[in-house]
Symmetry: C2
Subunit: 335 residues, 2 copies
């Protein structure tokens, strides 16, 4: 049997939808998450594609995630809107929140979206790209369970706490970065542990609080933030925005209350959208910013964030996507 | 002659005001910048205190900075306000912008302030603290002349591009971080060069594009961002917010047009303010966030950002501040 299975994007979408429907989701919830997953797969961002499906299904079976969630949109202020996710997988809540966020950003200049009672297991770049498609500058932040130390600390307090930022480029692919606050992705450490490799210095500490390059010790200890205390500050900011500000769980609370079923814990997310047409350079901002990107690309060794994904995006509609046979079988077994 | 001079905070303020008045400033401009400087000195943040005065004075003498600036407040949208700085030193423009920004954040939930035609030479934490004093969450971003490489690049494109974030704690000192996007402060590299020391790996590259620990080569080459491409992404975000979004100069434009007189180039700044009372947990957010800070402080080795400054702030009103005699003389010579 081959190690991998190739699927068209349509086949991947149908597989995910059917797996969700077979595990207690209604069609709205199933399709919202499947669409999100296939945007990741379409860019060959496998870590946020079908790879996540068994975790979602486990959490649906455990009753932690609500597969028939009906999120509620709450108008908080002229520039602020909230979506109470009703225990949904995050993309279901996002689909309820994008339109009011975009409308508010256009009318107010800047607006924010608070998402609560969601389970986030997807890529933030997909979310900010929805804002750049509307011509807006976008930010997104979310937390997780504690795996990263605060600056100088010897114990995990923060999730990998990613943040994403997107810049619209009319007529071109947007510039988007989406990065964890940890020095390394947790998946990379898990793969090093599985394959018996060391990880680079600066990746994490063991249970004794000492820095180590042994991935097994780091998985029992804690990951380090990127860039020392500066990355730790970004992770702290994320905690305060997605939990303190909007009344959701901090990473430490999510861990205390999570069922540990392999799926995403409950948590919050915070997004901001800015309309560049409202900040004093409505006619010039896009062309002016292109002069910056030209300078950027004129420096040897540079590549704009997300450029590789956009290259992949051109190929997958015809080439399809490839997933491990073991993953394909696992999904089919859970259907 | 002693190496240092001790001044009371009042004496420092008067010294700065008189130096500005003697170099073409009106009283409003002189006092706004002197107040800002003495907030830095009061926290023993010497790098943003009187140390900056000779540079300001040089730029005033060169005619680059307008010492009689009269900034204009422009209402852009319900959630957006702009201050055209009229060539001012940044604190003059801020004092015009805080009130409309705070009022908008309270009425809209979130608001932004764009500052253009300013010369920024001060600490961002002072600015976001003005927002936390009003009970708001604050962000501030500004750029400079190119000294930092984009991720993977071998030439400088970004300024040290600091960002600051502030979190209000009713009845307590706010949590504020204010950090450059470069791995090291430029001043640290200059001091290492002066003293003949090496700098740590990861600080910068020489003119040949190769990493080096020789501070002299880095000062001729370029600094590296903190945390590799992730810190570079933060620096890029700052450029886009303070230049692309609001119609001001990117770092590369500031360098091309600057008079190189030792003072700050013209540039822009972007600030955001969020009212935590408008995000769905008006009664609970402050106490809930304190549970997070308790967890943080319960981890050995941690210290909240800015805690050291708040300690200093208790001492300087009685102890005064100490500046090098050479700096004191230089200021007096320029009066």
């Amino acid at each position: 049997m081959a190690d991998t299975v190739t699927l068209s994007l349509e086949e991947g979408f149908t597989l995910a939808v059917e797996a969700f429907l077979a595990n207690g989701c209604d069609r709205r919830n199933a399709e919202a998450v499947a669409r999100n997953m296939m945007r990741a797969e379409g860019d060959r961002c496998a870590s946020h594609g079908l790879f996540r499906l068994p975790g979602y299904l486990a959490s649906l079976r455990a009753g932690k995630i609500n597969g028939k969630a009906d999120p509620t949109v709450i108008d908080l202020a002229p520039g602020a809107v909230k979506v109470d996710g009703d225990g949904a997988m995050a993309p279901v809540a996002h689909e309820a929140g994008y339109e009011p966020l975009i409308e508010k950003a256009r009318s107010q200049g800047i607006a924010a979206l608070a998402l609560t009672r969601i389970h986030h297991f997807s890529a933030l770049w997909i979310e900010v790209e929805r804002l750049t498609e509307a011509g807006l500058v976008g930010f997104a932040f979310t937390a997780y369970k504690p795996v990263v130390t605060p600056g100088g600390g010897t114990k995990a307090l923060y999730g990998t706490n990613p943040m994403a930022f997107g810049w619209p480029r009319p007529g071109k692919d947007p510039v988007i970065f989406d990065q964890a606050s940890s020095a390394k992705a947790r998946g990379e450490i898990q793969i090093a542990a599985r394959d018996g490799h060391e990880v680079p210095p600066g990746t994490g500490i063991g249970p004794d609080g000492e820095e180590t390059t042994d991935p097994n010790l780091i998985l029992k200890g804690a990951q380090l933030p990127f860039g020392g205390y500066k990355g730790a500050n970004i992770a702290m900011m994320v905690e305060l925005l997605v939990a303190g500000l909007i009344g959701e769980w901090f990473s430490f609370e999510a861990a205390e209350k999570d069922a540990e079923d392999g799926g995403p814990p409950r948590g919050g997310e915070f997004m901001m959208a800015i309309d560049p047409a409202r900040f004093g350079d409505a006619d010039g901002w896009a062309a002016h910013s292109e002069t910056f990107f030209e300078r950027f690309l004129g420096i040897p060794g540079t590549r704009l964030p997300s450029a590789r994904r956009y290259g992949n995006r051109k190929e997958t509609p015809s080439d399809g996507i490839t997933i491990p046979t073991s993953l394909h079988e696992k999904i089919r077994e859970m259907m």
